[in-house]
Symmetry: C2
């Protein structure tokens, strides 16, 4: 294709310049630019780059020698080699305090979360994974460990497959799922498909999390009311759970040894829950006291355990942790199913859990990176998180990820680097090795209280209200996810969220907006007359803006929509005895691309307009569009002199030629 | 929200007007319009209307009395009541000639197509369905009947379920599938979901049709070479078929009674195929001779049948139709499976066949409607086609739809209304009732030749070349569908086409384009500097245009992309010792909508920029976007005085305030 400028043949109104400084010109029509056509290879390279390498991860490697490149590559994989060299002692102070604070928060949480996942408390994911992340991750603020939502999701999906009573088989499937969760995360990052997690919209996640908070809290009623596990439903939906709670209530609150509620448990749980929520409130009121809610759980555990130990409340029906093994996580490589029928099941569960875990970690990482203004490569993060979970699955850990509450504490406690994770990991190691047996007398009700107080923040009603105000469709997605989780199951809620998000995308690509433009007084700017009621229409001309790329999914809609806008206009003109429409100007600025279906639609539109003696005019077609219109010879069909740089140019050029 | 205009607080540069006529003003900054907020109900109504009723089907009903409305409603359902009243005798002349011409084309085709669907030739879909369509359809040019691609699709999907040898069971499933195809079409139209068929892109359809043409032709090799059906593969992929052809060839061409090729058949088939292709060529060369290719098939049938009858070639191994029943289609209502295991199978096959049939009919309808400039309601058409197939399934017809070749002949023969379909239907009725037994001696090879010559046009190599030139991604979709059909199966080809089309949509919504803008000399217009190399950048300012709505699926990409563009810019500035970036202007014209994720991304962007002491400026946010930015208070975060009507206004206002 020749690089000749379209418009060269057109009637050009010679410009007279007015004022050198203001660069304002009247009556000057600039030509529409057609850049030289790019070669196929170049085009393909560009598309691939924008799709998978839009963040230009190889930028630092540019113009470097080979050994330097190799060193940079190793550093890219293990960022600790980079920041570790600049690590200073004064930074360690902050990291130490932050590490100790999050350790005190994580120990009680971990015991509770492992219960959510129906696993024994010694399978602690806060020892190995944070170490791996500290070596490979690039976020400075994230704190790694198990999180409530993933634990619940994993627990509920696993128990659909194997009854948790069959401990060993259940554990094996849990490690298998964790392994595949890691593989999924690694693969998404490695193949630079990280953008796929963006398909879970913010609104859907808010709804999902709020639903999960309710579901998790409901699950805690069991421990909170002292109901025996065997009598409680395995389902997570609100109806089943409340029915279980109701049924057991009939066995009597006073029945200390029996099947129903246990008043001692309720008193212990209730008072500590009140304490924890109060601590949270204090921490929110005064940001300097952030450490108070952070250590409150550990404090509660120490006090309540001591209390039970002294009073032997466990003999009054207060359920305690009782059995807890000492020692660090053993190897579990041989436990993972690599063959057999459980591979498929484990894979499926792993993919779902891995993606949800990623969503949380990446969201947290991005938030803190934006706050401290450092760059975070989402795909690299995924590789780090994936490796961490693969290693975790081989060392008796289940899916770990970035925890929002812990990361916030980490940030507020003044962490500087991932060293705080190493400190936490070390404290957890000491705990596992020496202190664990002391948790024997910890009442289950305390764990329930800790979990409830931890997930209460997931129910972000302010965000829900904001979503309602901003975007009604987002609100539907949010509520769909919420009610799906609360009334059916965690997986269904997730499915609903994804489905609604996709429906939104489909709606976006099939039903783009169009607008009729008018001239804003005292300017040559043409804008939507609905947004600018003062804008005036040009007699004999209909100006339509199409607000989307024209693709097969919307080309027919756009064509029909434009014709309908014209019909509306004609009706009005007839009523007011105004002259007929002679030009249809399509403002193409927002039309970023067009495909063969789109060109067909334009050709059909042109044919229809010709029958009606209306001339089609295009304003400001972009680079890609103009290329394709040119290749398909549609530019010749329309006429080069009917393509303008702006709507203003088009009106100025065509107005004098109109029939009176 | 108050309807107050954003920008009222802003520093306004007072405009001095230059020239009343040209309406050109320098230094005048217009305010960005914030229309009064719409109520929720109104907004919802608008969205629903645009999604499902964008073509405003109730427009004619507006301001009419109730009986008038009822009459219009009946007319809308049965358009024959409308156009029938204005029907004139002079129109009948054209319709009669067109009807006779398409009848002569359809009779031989129908016998061949029923073979493709593995059905007996007496199940003719050109009698009942055209009658129903004539009453309910609104296209004036479409000619109804079975088509090659749908027959092949139906045949290949049905024989995967039931061996066609079990005639009765096979027929029952065929009617069941036809019934559900009709129900699918009806439902899509009735619930105004017709836009869903737009998800099959033009490119995918071209590829699919070309592949189907190859597959159908390959299937005809059997009849063309005189190979016995029992020796031929049931698969449709090219490898299996060519292996079958090759294997049977070893049995010898000269073996007249045996299992291999039959030379008499090849001679008859070959010569008539040459004749048919020649007729097609003549018709294409001289448009006035369009009737010649249209009657050529019937002519071939008459001549060859007579020839076989005289020479008794059937005793030399030339296979003939042999068994053909006389009489019009019997009722088949009791044959349809409404219960049992075949309902699901029939439903699945029906949905696929119904949608493919719709795609063809709607594409044809649209093409001719655009050529003659009349309005065609896609959803109403679907209701008509659906009803037609439901009734068809009860009268021993299989899926019928609009046939491209027949409709083209119909159009060229001068049809005026759907009366030509009625004429054709009447001729088919007479044929079925009286002439059918004469087809007993028709050689199968002639039917094969007729089908090959009919589908040869489906292989539209010119369209494929054009697709290659215009859009490489479309070409991939096209080839995916083509190779899927040719090398695997019709269904897989279809699946590939849909999958690639969806991938394209996902790419569109996750990776929108962005562009750096520059000022076009002697104007105040800012355009992509890649398209307009003469455009100049403004020192200290980076102007970025985002070419898409900002949704959850792309918000992170857009944020990162903008930051990378800035990084690129900064690098350049450093190299040339130019002043640092002070403003980032985001041109929002193409940003038609934003959701909560998008607002979050903008907030993150704003935070990052603040850290770098760069001011975020927005130019021309649209109505929906501004509403949502306002609700989320992001307009306050950015500052009202940082939102402008155009990039030109922004630069003009901000330039004087920049650091030197």
């Amino acid at each position: 294709m020749s690089g000749k400028r379209i418009g060269e043949e057109s009637d050009m109104v010679s410009g007279k310049r007015i004022g050198e400084e203001s660069d304002m010109v009247s009556g000057y029509v600039h030509k529409v630019g057609v850049p030289p056509k790019q070669s196929l290879l170049k085009e393909l390279k560009f598309t691939l780059k924008e799709t998978f390498f839009h963040d230009d991860p190889l930028r630092p490697f540019r113009d470097k020698s080979v050994p330097k490149k190799a060193w940079l590559g190793i550093q890219a994989l293990f960022p600790i080699l980079d920041w570790g060299r600049h690590y200073k002692f004064h930074m360690f102070k902050g990291d130490l305090i932050a590490g100790l604070t999050i350790a005190s928060l994580c120990i009680p949480q971990d015991i509770g979360y492992s219960k959510l996942a129906n696993l024994d408390p010694q399978f602690d994911s806060s020892f190995v994974p944070p170490l791996i992340y500290a070596i490979m991750g690039s976020s400075r603020d994230i704190a790694i460990g198990p999180v409530a939502v993933v634990s619940l999701l994993l627990g509920s999906m696993l128990q659909n497959q194997i009854d948790p009573k069959h401990k060993h088989e259940y554990q094996r499937l849990a490690f298998t799922a964790t392994f595949f969760a890691g593989i999924t995360q690694f693969a998404l990052g490695f193949f630079r498909l990280g953008f796929l997690i963006d398909f879970l919209s913010h609104a859907a996640i808010v709804g999902f999390m709020a639903g999960a908070a309710i579901t998790i809290s409901l699950q805690q009623l069991k421990g909170f009311l002292g109901i025996k596990t065997s009598k409680f439903t395995k389902k997570t939906d609100i109806v089943s759970v409340m029915r279980s709670v109701w049924t057991t209530a009939h066995h009597g609150v006073t029945n200390s040894y029996g099947l129903g509620w246990n008043w001692e448990t309720i008193v212990i749980g209730g008072s500590f829950l009140a304490f924890l929520l109060f601590a949270k409130y204090i921490g929110k009121k005064n940001r300097k006291l952030f450490w108070f809610p952070a250590i409150a759980p550990l404090l509660s555990i120490i006090i309540s355990t001591f209390f039970v130990f002294i009073t032997h409340a466990e003999k009054k029906g207060v359920q305690i942790v009782n059995h807890i093994e000492r020692g660090i996580n053993p190897s579990s490589l041989h436990e993972i199913h690599f063959t057999g029928s459980y591979v498929g099941t484990g894979f499926r569960i792993g993919v779902v859990a891995g993606i949800i875990a990623l969503t949380e970690a990446v969201a947290i990482g991005r938030t803190f990176a934006a706050m401290k203004d450092y760059h975070l490569d989402g795909n690299k993060e995924m590789v780090a998180l994936g490796t961490m979970n693969v290693v975790g699955s081989m060392t008796s850990c289940y899916v770990a990820t970035g925890s929002f509450s812990r990361s916030a504490v980490n940030y507020m406690a003044g962490c500087n680097t991932a060293v705080s994770n190493i400190v936490m990991s070390f404290v957890v190691f000491l705990t596992l090795e020496f202190i664990t047996p002391l948790f024997k007398y910890t009442p289950n009700a305390i764990l329930a209280s800790i979990i409830i107080s931890a997930v209460v923040g997931l129910f972000d009603y302010e965000a829900i209200i904001l979503i309602w105000k901003i975007d009604k469709f987002d609100f539907v997605a949010c509520m769909g996810a919420f009610f799906g989780v609360v009334f059916i199951s965690v997986e269904i809620g997730l499915l609903v969220a994804v489905a609604i998000s996709f429906a939104k995308i489909l709606l976006q690509v099939t039903r783009p907006r169009t607008a009729v433009l008018g001239k804003i007084p005292r300017t040559t700017v043409y804008r939507n007359i609905q947004q600018y009621p003062e804008a005036t229409k040009v007699p004999g001309v209909v100006i339509v803006r199409v607000d989307s790329a024209i693709y097969f999914s919307n080309s027919n809609y756009i064509r029909e929509r434009i014709l309908r806008l014209m019909a509306d206009e004609e009706e009005q003109l007839k009523e007011n005895n105004l002259p007929r429409i002679q030009y249809l100007i399509v403002e193409m600025s927002p039309v970023t691309d067009i495909d063969t279906s789109g060109i067909h639609a334009l050709e059909d539109l042109h044919k229809t307009l010709q029958k009606r003696d209306v001339q089609l005019v295009l304003a400001n077609p972009g680079q890609a569009v103009l290329d394709k219109l040119h290749t398909s010879t549609f530019t010749i069909t329309v006429g080069y002199d009917k393509i303008f740089l702006t709507v203003g140019d088009a009106v100025m050029t065509l107005a004098p030629k109109m029939e009176p």
